[in-house]
Amino acid sequence: MKKLFEKHFERTWLVIFLIMFVIIMIPFPFFYSETYIPAIGGIPSYIFGWFVHTAITFALIIVYYRMCMKRKEYHVYDEKNEEVTEGGEE
């Protein structure tokens, strides 16, 4: 698994997010329901299904961001900007 991320970093993450993207489209009753399944306060249960899915995807974005920040190709422009800031932004 570690090798997969090292060798095909972008592609692996793209696949992960595409899987999450496709999962939400599958008409599971907790995402898409033609019958009324009440949850807390009578709110349809699929609303909570969307929330859980969003929370997981958002957590994955944070993990992806942290992994990217450990790679040098994502820091190419950092130094340039520091120079600009030091010399005054405008």
């Binding site: 009324y36 958002f58 974005i61 994502y74």
Partner: protein
């Protein structure tokens, strides 16, 4: 005027005047700091996290999101929330993964300012600029028109004045500050507007729950009225599964084709900024979309007798809060419209002045003369938008969706340009032409529409565009090797 509308003009004018005064000051301040063409169009790639994140979501979220979508959902129920909620988390991460990361790099390396800069260089053809410019005028003017119609609705609900008054008023204000501050003014005001939008979504939601007597009460009322408000495909059958899928893809994947969002990646100062902007923007989009759309559902239980569905959110605020507070939060919706119009107006002005005039009509035009021309063009486009808003050819949501879909066809040349070395300019132009014709056919001709099996017209249009791209590119000459190298070698490993 319907009896349901209870105008409270004095507080509305007071709050709006203060709010617009602040926006005008920012526009003036930004104009003093706008020194060159790069600043005017993309803030010279210096935008930080807060500006990039909030500007992205406040440009994408519009009157459509804050008035049109809840209005549409008002007739559907919870299923209508599928328009934005399940796909909201992908709104920025998918474009960032597929194109954003590369655009930040290309913007820094080659100084691209607009989508046309990228397409013209990648396809080694100035015709790409012209095609994009014409398409932008055709589709983005209606998109701005949809926002301005929303201003009319708000002014009508809060003052009782005819809708055209709000349309003209908002049009004039946006023209003035876009003309003076360009992208810098637009993005600085976006930050305030975006924050206000989140506040408005939260307050509208809370007010709608309180008005409805709590969740239990709202949902049992909905069940008694019609249980379809709580299930798919919704009370009027609006959201069958195919359309549920369409909406998830439409408002995330296809945002890549929107020039005003595409440009935002060029403004980001580095990749770290991009990621933080994604987190901030995604959070903002999810929270505002969920709450404002949910308020539309809650409104079904407590508000009846409205003139048109687009009025639901202003009416929730008007009935649930005192006039000053209601006016303050309605300013958040005005903000949603203004931040979308300003982003698009600056981008469309760029299409005419830089992509058509400077690149095709007068190649010797200096940046200074283009800056001057930009201000005239902003006024002219703004006036056309005002006329569009006065005549109102459809509901806010319908117009917004049509315009968004039209520009989304550009996903084909963008993705092929980034991932397929053999894609050519004739292929890209043919793909856009076929895509637009297919989009119009699958939207307007009932017999053709049936062939899409309930999916949005953009799906078959994109597939046909992609097939055309492959066929025509195979038959035509690829751009020079030097161009291909410039776009692909940067991203090769090692």
């Amino acid at each position: 005027m319907s009896e349901a509308i209870q105008p409270s003009p004095a507080p509305f004018y007071t709050v709006l005047a203060i709010y617009l005064g602040i926006m005008a000051f920012i526009g003036w301040y930004a104009s003093r700091k706008t020194k060159n063409l790069g600043d005017f169009f993309v803030l010279s790639g210096k935008a930080g996290v807060i500006v990039s994140g909030i500007a992205y979501f406040s440009t994408q979220f519009s009157m459509g999101t804050f008035l049109g979508t809840p209005g549409t959902i008002f007739g559907v129920g919870y299923a209508g929330m599928a328009i934005s909620v399940p796909g909201a988390v992908f709104c920025m991460i998918l474009p960032a993964l597929l194109i954003g990361r590369k655009l930040v790099t290309l913007g820094h390396e080659y100084g691209f300012l607009t989508m046309a800069d990228y397409l013209t260089d990648r396809y080694h053809s100035r015709s790409m600029s012209g095609v994009l410019g014409v398409m932008m005028l055709f589709f983005l003017i209606p998109m701005m028109g949809a926002q301005i119609i929303g201003a009319g609705v708000i002014v009508h609900v809060f003052t009782g004045l005819p809708e055209w008054v709000g349309v003209v008023g908002m049009g004039v204000i946006v023209i003035l500050y876009c003309m003076s501050g360009g992208m810098k003014g637009a993005m600085m005001t976006d930050v305030i507007q975006g924050s206000l939008m989140i506040g408005t979504a939260v307050v509208t939601f809370i007010v709608s729950v309180v008005m409805g007597g709590g969740f239990e009460n709202i949902n049992s009322t909905l069940q008694n009225m019609n249980e379809s408000y709580l299930t798919f495909p919704g009370a009027n059958g609006y959201m069958p599964w195919a359309y549920y899928v369409s909406n998830i893809v439409l408002w995330s994947f296809f945002t890549m084709g929107q020039p005003h969002l595409f440009t935002k990646f060029f403004t980001m100062k580095d990749h770290k900024t991009m990621f933080k902007a994604i987190l901030l923007g995604t959070g903002g989009m999810f929270v505002s979309a969920t709450l404002i759309e949910w308020a539309g559902v809650n409104g079904i239980a407590s508000i009846q007798n409205i003139e048109k569905a687009d009025q639901i959110v202003p009416m929730i605020l008007q009935r649930g809060l005192n006039p000053f507070l209601a006016s303050l939060f309605i300013a958040g919706i005005v903000a949603a419209g203004m931040s979308t119009i300003d982003g698009i107006l600056v981008t469309t002005t760029g299409a005419v002045t830089r992509d058509i005039y400077q690149k095709i009509v007068n190649k010797k035009a200096t940046d200074e003369s283009v800056m001057k021309l930009s201000k005239v063009v902003t006024i002219l486009i703004g006036l056309v938008v005002i006329l569009f808003g006065v005549f109102q050819p459809g509901s806010i949501f319908e117009i917004n969706l049509f315009a968004f879909s039209g520009m989304a066809v550009f996903v084909v040349p963008i993705l092929f340009g980034m991932y397929w070395k053999k894609s050519t300019a004739p292929g890209a132009i043919a793909a856009v032409a076929v895509g637009v014709i297919a989009l119009l056919s699958f939207t307007l001709i009932p017999e053709v529409k049936e062939l899409a099996h309930g999916f949005h017209a953009l799906f078959p249009a994109t597939i046909l565009g992609a097939v055309t791209m492959v066929i025509v590119s195979r038959l035509t000459q690829a751009p020079p090797q030097e161009t291909i190298d410039r776009h692909f070698k940067l991203f090769q490993k090692g």
